[in-house]
């Protein structure tokens, strides 16, 4: 059995994922780059004597260092050296698709071109002479229909052939005498100074990238002499041809492509997507666009909460049953602390979080559906005007929408934003979009404090406050720390299509998995930690063994003596002006770990304090606090420092503790001030 690596490259929306699914079946795992688009998926297939590891590279238009996706794809090819690269060509847009192919050829990777959905393109009036095109480009071409599974066998054969007889010579576009001449001059110098680089990628490619002033390559080739020579060459080329070398090189690549396509790709009719155009005429209409979008969002959230209710009830029942089971089956008297840890700490804590999994799954499914059909790109178009007013692009809106599910995949999703300032601003305000963890807090508090007819409104109010604060913060950031001009914004609007159920489910799962992982690791650890903090150190036996004390008073003494009790007590003067007492303070400490811990924490505090079986948590809350305090808690939870996991992701994605710190302290300070104002002013009226 021989193991080979095959990478899949192609433009976004070229049907790459469909081909990947066709080749690998369902067996695949998502690798190191989770997020909306920057992810590397791997999947295995066995064929004859080969175990083929397919790697799905992010969809890109070229291999410059302009966007993160391009860098990810390029670095993979340089560092991992796949045996074959399969480049998916969108048959309805051959010339543009081949632009990426020419760049792969420059990197001298063994290439197979796949013309996807060429049957549809042919029906629409495009004629291909693939045999002739293959001869001209000196690259094998296979035509497939990914969604029907056609062409799979031929593709495997082509891959096998390349592995068995690697091509001796790979054609590439000629950049014209002037540029070629400077490339030839730079080549030997690079080969001599950087043998470890030229072992990985061809020296001609490196020399060409020097002339293109590619950021990533300039970081690697720092030799002043080579840089000086490249600069001189660039100036001479500019003087001679009136353009920067990179533009001339782009022209030559297109020249090379149109030369190959001239005789082989024929258009007999203009390509149109009537169906897409009809839909677009409505959903991107100047007046209808926004109302349609808002209506769809309303529908999504209705669906998520209505449908999510049922499985939520089942899960709640299941965890209740599990906790009770442990309580009952536990051998009497043996290690009571462990029983309490398992039933209250672990099952109680993690259970509260897992209960919201159905909602998360439904929201991510809805988002996958919006993305898969192509509507999401239109939503970005419709929202662009509004987002622009707060200094963001329409595209920023996509990660923000994911933020209503969970900030972690949302912040990772900001990788689709090319502009650094735009991306940082989006990352900073994402925590203000009420995520599901915050929803759990609202879901506990709103029914506890507000009459039925007000509950729906209260949900909208709190969500809206978050959105408005997000807009305000974005504006402030864009006019202070992140001031500066926009990077111009270009985005493709793919034709509408029906995504496969499998593709949508897989995308939903990828994102939901990040949430489950959080529940399984961070929240589990914090639940245990908090349980320990609330139970230790224990007070002396003499204090609690006094017969006058009731069971409840003993427990209260124990809690006051514990680490968490003491911290909560110490915090009390600071949080009192917000209307919060010690118990809320304790739960807020827990909420730092993850907002949903607030709920489990309150549950634990009250279970510890007295017999929770007789009175539900909500009734106890209503007894102890006023609705004003209830709303203040929600307000504070909404705005204050996001969970530790979010801060960690922000640090990772921005590569700076400063931004993570600003997010943490900035939001907490804002929460304190706003809650303080709200509570103090509110107290005057109520």
């Amino acid at each position: 059995m021989k193991k080979i690596n095959v990478a899949l490259a192609g433009n976004p929306n070229s049907g790459k994922s469909t081909i990947f699914n066709m080749l690998t079946g369902g067996r695949q795992k998502v690798g190191n780059y989770p997020g909306v688009t920057v992810e590397i998926k791997e999947g295995k297939a066995r064929r004859d004597d080969y175990e083929i590891n397919f790697i799905d590279l992010p969809g890109t238009y070229s291999l410059t260092a302009y966007t993160l996706e391009e860098r990810v794809a390029r670095d993979f090819i340089i560092n991992k050296h796949p045996d074959v690269v399969v480049d998916i060509i969108d048959a309805s847009n051959v010339e543009r698709s081949l632009y990426l192919a020419t760049q792969l050829m420059e990197m001298q990777v063994p290439l197979v071109l796949v013309f996807n959905m060429s049957d549809i393109a042919q029906r629409r009036g495009l004629l291909f002479d693939l045999e002739q095109l293959s001869k001209l480009l000196e690259v094998p071409i296979v035509s497939t229909t990914g969604n029907k599974g056609l062409g799979k066998q031929q593709l495997f054969e082509a891959i096998k052939k390349i592995v068995e007889e690697p091509p001796q010579h790979i054609r590439q576009a000629n950049f014209g005498t002037e540029i070629e001449q400077y490339i030839e001059q730079l080549k030997p110098k690079i080969e001599q100074k950087y043998p470890e680089l030229t072992a990985k990628c061809p020296s001609r490619w490196l020399a060409a990238k020097m002339l293109e002033q590619d950021e990533e390559i300039l970081k690697k080739i720092t030799d002043p002499q080579i840089n000086q020579q490249a600069q001189t060459a660039i100036q001479k080329i500019k003087g001679l041809l009136g353009e920067m070398p990179e533009m001339i090189m782009a022209d030559h690549r297109y020249g090379f492509i149109s030369g190959a396509c001239q005789e082989t790709v024929k258009t007999t009719a203009e390509l149109r997507h009537e169906f897409s155009d009809t839909i677009d005429a409505v959903v991107t209409n100047r007046y209808l666009g926004l109302p349609i979008f808002i209506g769809l969002m309303y529908l999504v959230f209705e669906l998520v909460f209505r449908l999510g209710e049922y499985p939520m009830d089942w899960l709640e029942g299941f965890f209740g049953f599990l906790g009770a089971g442990v309580e009952n089956l536990w051998p009497e008297g043996s290690m009571p602390w462990l029983k309490s840890l398992v039933s209250e700490g672990i099952i109680g804590g993690v259970g509260e979080v897992i209960v919201f999994l159905p909602n998360i799954l439904l929201l991510f499914l809805a988002i996958a559906m919006l993305e898969g059909t192509g509507y999401m790109a239109r939503a970005a178009f419709v929202m662009d005007k509004l987002m622009h007013k707060i200094g963001l692009h329409g595209k920023s809106f996509i990660p923000m929408l994911i933020g209503f599910g969970c900030s972690i995949p949302a912040i990772m999703g900001t990788r689709i934003l090319e502009d650094r300032r735009n991306r940082l601003t989006t990352i900073m305000v994402i925590p203000l979009m009420s995520c599901f963890a915050k929803f759990t807090v609202y879901a506990l508090l709103i029914p506890a404090f507000f009459p039925v007819q007000w509950r729906g409104t209260m949900f909208w109010v709190i969500y809206l406050i978050g959105i408005l604060l997000g807009i305000l913060s974005a504006r402030i950031l864009r006019s202070t720390v992140l001031k500066g001009e926009d990077i111009p914004f270009v985005m493709e609007l793919p034709p509408y299509r029906m995504p496969t159920a499998k593709a949508m489910l897989m995308q939903m799962w990828t994102r939901a998995w990040l949430y489950i992982k959080k529940a399984g690791t961070i929240i589990l650890a914090i639940s245990i930690l908090l349980w320990v903090g609330m139970n230790f150190p224990r007070p002396d036996i003499e204090h609690t063994s006094s017969p006058q004390l009731t069971q409840q008073q003993i427990k209260q003494l124990e809690l006051e003596h514990s680490v968490v009790g003491r911290i909560g007590g110490a915090m009390e003067p600071a949080i009192k002006p917000l209307g919060f007492d010690r118990n809320i303070g304790i739960a807020m400490i827990g909420a730092l770990a993850a907002k949903e811990v607030f709920v489990s924490q309150m549950a634990i505090v009250y279970a510890v304090e007295e017999d929770a079986k007789e009175m539900s948590l909500r009734e106890q809350l209503r007894r102890d606090y006023s609705p004003l305090v209830g709303f203040a808690i929600m307000l504070f939870c909404l705005i204050s420092a996001p969970c530790i996991a979010t801060i960690a992701v922000t640090k990772h994605e921005t590569n700076s503790w400063r931004w993570a710190g600003l997010q943490f302290f900035g939001l907490t300070a804002m929460a304190y001030v706003i809650t303080l104002l709200f509570y103090q002013i509110g107290s005057l009226f109520i």
Binding site: Y61, Y66, S92, R96, S276, D384, K385, H388, I487, V490
Partner: protein, 78 residues
């Protein structure tokens, strides 16, 4: 004239891109280059632009559209 002044439904030919190389490169890789012809589908004043280039729909921010110098072609093409 800049693309921003073109009305919906008109077909234009791109003459030049008055910008840095980042944007020129990006547009080139997406198939928008000097001499390319395309149609303006949506000109949401003052919002973004929607164009079709060779059957492919694209959205351009207003900042981008401002930098694209175009020549309006015969309105028969609309």
């Amino acid at each position: 004239m800049p693309l921003t002044q073109i009305k919906e439904g008109r077909t234009v030919r791109l003459v030049s891109i008055e910008s840095g190389y980042g944007l020129k490169n990006r547009l080139a890789s997406m198939g928008v280059r000097p001499q390319t012809e395309f149609t303006v589908i949506n000109n949401h004043h003052p919002g973004p632009f929607m164009i079709t280039v060779k059957g492919c729909k694209m959205m351009l921010g207003r900042g981008v559209a401002d930098k694209l110098m175009v020549l309006q072609l015969n309105s028969e093409n609309q």
